[in-house]
């Protein structure tokens, strides 16, 4: 039987098309855009945003939202620097960073499912909480004022160094691999299927015997763990955890998901959508910077793009709905005859 393209595949192609178009545009306009150096930096920046967005996409596909990812990055980053200071190697810090981020996510999930608070309010509040926690652990001098503090551990710092002499960072590689793994998880396992189910219709999923609370908690843990992972790499790259770490990252990550095709409200999109969305936004940021453009113009372009993505998705949903109704009728006839 001939396999027809479904709407998510078409949406995927559109995003890929946008990324290619943007690459073409910028490489025509700026001779430096496709240089090894620029691509390596571009992928590092995209990976920072993209790791957070990939984790967040799990929560968003499940119909939720996680506004605390910025706070998780901040708190985890600062905690990681402390962990390395007590003598742990960079690899231990990496693992503990993921666990710390996951624990923050677990807290979110616990509040949302056990105390039955909405995701929006819970994670908005816990986001502030995590930022505050970051400040509590921040390095201070004898007078109690904040001070800059460098990471000492060489293994930790090496996580933020380029892999090859020409560039290319570990975070980018990790990002690509994890996005692929997450795609498999979302489409080929029960966990992923259930996440789509609760994002699409929570009540129906519950009636079908899906443990909604468990899936939601796992989603939040994933979101937190990915943010924690991003925090480890970013602190390693910046050689410190500044208190402005992760600031506003939650909104950029949501924007990346939306541009990539994760629908607010759930049920559509996956980690690869988040991957492409983050790549697109990072590319836009990188490309526009080449032209010494004022930041307000960059903001306007980014904002318009997100609006266009949402408007497009709502229109696209209607068009593809009609198309699929027709298709279902045709194929049902051929199948049964």
């Amino acid at each position: 039987m001939k396999k027809k393209l479904n709407s998510s595949t078409i949406r995927r192609f559109i995003t890929i098309g946008l990324v290619i178009a943007l690459t073409a545009l910028f490489s025509l306009l700026s001779s430096n855009f496709l240089s090894m150096y620029n691509l390596s930096e571009l992928f590092r920046n995209a990976a920072y945003l993209g790791l957070i967005a990939c984790g967040l996409s799990v929560v968003m596909v499940g119909g939720g939202i996680d506004l605390s990812v910025g706070g998780i990055v901040c708190a985890t980053g600062i905690i990681c620097v402390h962990l390395s200071d007590i003598g742990l190697s960079g690899y231990m810090v990496l693992i503990l960073g993921i666990i710390t981020g996951g624990a923050f996510g677990l807290l979110n999930g616990f509040i949302v499912t056990k105390l039955k608070l909405t995701e929006f309010v819970t994670t908005l509040a816990s986001g502030f909480l995590f930022f505050g926690l970051g400040l509590v652990f921040a390095y201070r001098d004898d007078h109690g004022t904040l001070m800059a503090h460098s990471i000492k551990s060489n293994t930790y710092l090496s996580l933020g160094q380029p892999l090859l002499p020409g560039g290319f960072y570990l975070i980018s590689l990790v990002w690509v691999v994890l996005a692929i793994i997450l795609w498999v998880v979302m489409h080929k396992t029960e966990l992923g299927l259930y996440t789509f189910a609760i994002g699409s219709d929570e009540k129906s999923a519950r009636m079908s015997g899906v443990n909604v609370a468990k899936i939601k908690v796992i989603g939040f843990i994933m979101s937190g763990a990915f943010s924690g992972l991003a925090a480890v790499f970013v602190t390693a790259y910046e050689r410190t955890a500044s208190t402005s770490l992760g600031n506003m990252r939650e909104f950029l990550a949501i924007a990346a998901c939306v541009v990539g095709g994760v629908v607010l409200g759930g049920g559509k999109g996956d980690a690869v959508s988040a991957f492409l969305g983050a790549l697109f936004l990072a590319m836009l940021d990188n490309g526009l910077r080449k032209f010494g453009m004022d930041s307000y113009v960059v903001y306007m372009i980014q904002g318009s793009l997100i609006l266009v993505a949402i408007a497009f998705d709502s229109q696209f949903a209607k068009i593809s709905y009609r198309r699929r109704v027709k298709e279902q009728r045709l194929s049902a006839q051929t199948l049964t005859s």
Partner: protein, 370 residues
């Protein structure tokens, strides 16, 4: 049905809007990209033989980058004016200004990005001494001289031009102490808590009191979030209710001094308390002239940025930077700090009239003086 059509219309409008923004943006950069293509790419061409590449700075194009913390406020205005003024006689030199929007990570990103863009020199106020480390090291390794201004970075780089916070604070202590004959109570309005580490004015002030005026009691230090004048006013109000007698107030910026003065006026205690600010912003100069503010110090932003540009051109001309010169430590150039009082009659201070006449504030922000 109609509903569907309206939303489709909306989508089209949005698309058109976005397109026009994009077109506008690309049109705006058309001019600049012309410049870009002619200049050599420092980051890519690793075959630059360091130290031997002499550049004729008067006849070939030179492209420099300035990454200020933000793009508002008198200090930035003055820096921009100084740079533009200097470049008037150097038609082949361009300085691109890309503000970091108060975000250290963003500042680092802009610098990292610039390394591959053919900039021959980069200067900025390092918002975070460590976050800025990586990008600076990369730039220096690529042969680009980096100059930090006022705020230093941990990375070894070509030059740090310092406004000397500590010294100005120390001078303020000496002058205010003398003004109240070494007896009374003092308090300070400090930078935001998160940035207190980078400014050394308050410690300088405290040390001056400790060293010279043992009879002056130091009451309290108030951090003021966001460098906001309103925050300073709030802090001052609580201090006024808390302490019966306050004689001198030292503020880490003239904006903070302004907030304090307003709060003191409201409480009707302006005759009792002397307020001393920092930076010598035009509004503050006017206040000193009027007698509502006791003093400030004059940070000569004009000279400072003129020095930055010429110093940078010297490095570019001779193909020098920290790597080439083999620095293991960043050399520091201290800028003078001149205390200002109304009549210039206290320990080493100059009169406000003299500053108004000789600084460029009259040209940069003429509305401040009436």
């Amino acid at each position: 049905m109609k509903k569907v059509r309206t939303s489709r219309f909306l989508a089209v409008v949005m698309a058109v809007l976005m397109m026009s923004v994009a077109v506008f943006a690309l049109a705006a950069c058309e001019k600049e990209s012309d410049v870009n293509t002619d200049t050599p790419v420092a980051g890519d061409d690793t075959d630059i033989t360091m130290g031997t590449t002499k550049v004729d700075i008067y006849n070939t194009d030179v492209k420099l980058l300035y990454v200020p913390i933000g793009d508002a406020g008198p200090a930035f205005e003055m820096a921009r004016y100084a740079i533009e003024d200097t470049l008037k006689f150097l038609p082949n030199v361009t300085v691109d200004i890309k503000p970091a929007e108060y975000d250290p990570t963003k500042q680092a990103d802009i610098i990292t990005d610039a390394i591959g863009q053919g900039y021959q020199g980069i200067f900025f106020e390092a918002m975070d001494p460590i976050v800025s480390q990586g990008p600076i090291e990369k730039a220096e390794a690529a042969g680009i001289p980096v100059i930090t201004v006022n705020l230093n970075s941990q990375a070894v780089h070509t030059l740090f031009i310092q406004g000397n916070d500590y010294k100005s604070g120390y001078q303020a202590g000496e002058i205010l102490g003398a003004a109240i004959d070494g007896k009374g109570n003092a308090l300070t309005l400090n930078a935001p808590a998160a940035q207190a580490a980078t400014s050394q004015m308050i410690p300088g002030f405290q040390d001056a009191l400790k060293d010279n005026y043992p009879d002056i009691t130091f009451l309290e230090d108030f951090p003021c979030e966001g460098w906001q004048s309103s925050e300073a006013a709030n802090n001052m109000k609580s201090a006024l209710t808390k302490y019966d007698k306050i004689d001198i107030v030292y503020a880490a910026s003239d904006d903070l001094a302004d907030g304090a003065i307003n709060a003191i006026k409201e409480a009707g205690r302006e005759n009792e308390i002397k307020v001393y600010g920092s930076m010598g912003y035009p509004q503050a100069l006017q206040r000193i002239k009027d007698g509502t503010q006791f003093g400030s110090y004059f940070a000569d932003g004009y000279s400072q940025f003129q020095v930055v540009v010429y110093q940078m051109l010297y490095y570019v001309q001779n193909g020098l930077n920290a790597t080439v010169l083999g620095y293991t430590d960043t050399p520091t150039l201290d800028m003078p700090t001149t205390p200002i009082t109304k009549d210039g009659n206290l320990a080493g201070s100059v009169s406000v009239d003299q500053v108004i006449e000789n600084s460029r504030w009259k040209v940069v922000m003429p509305d401040a003086f009436k």
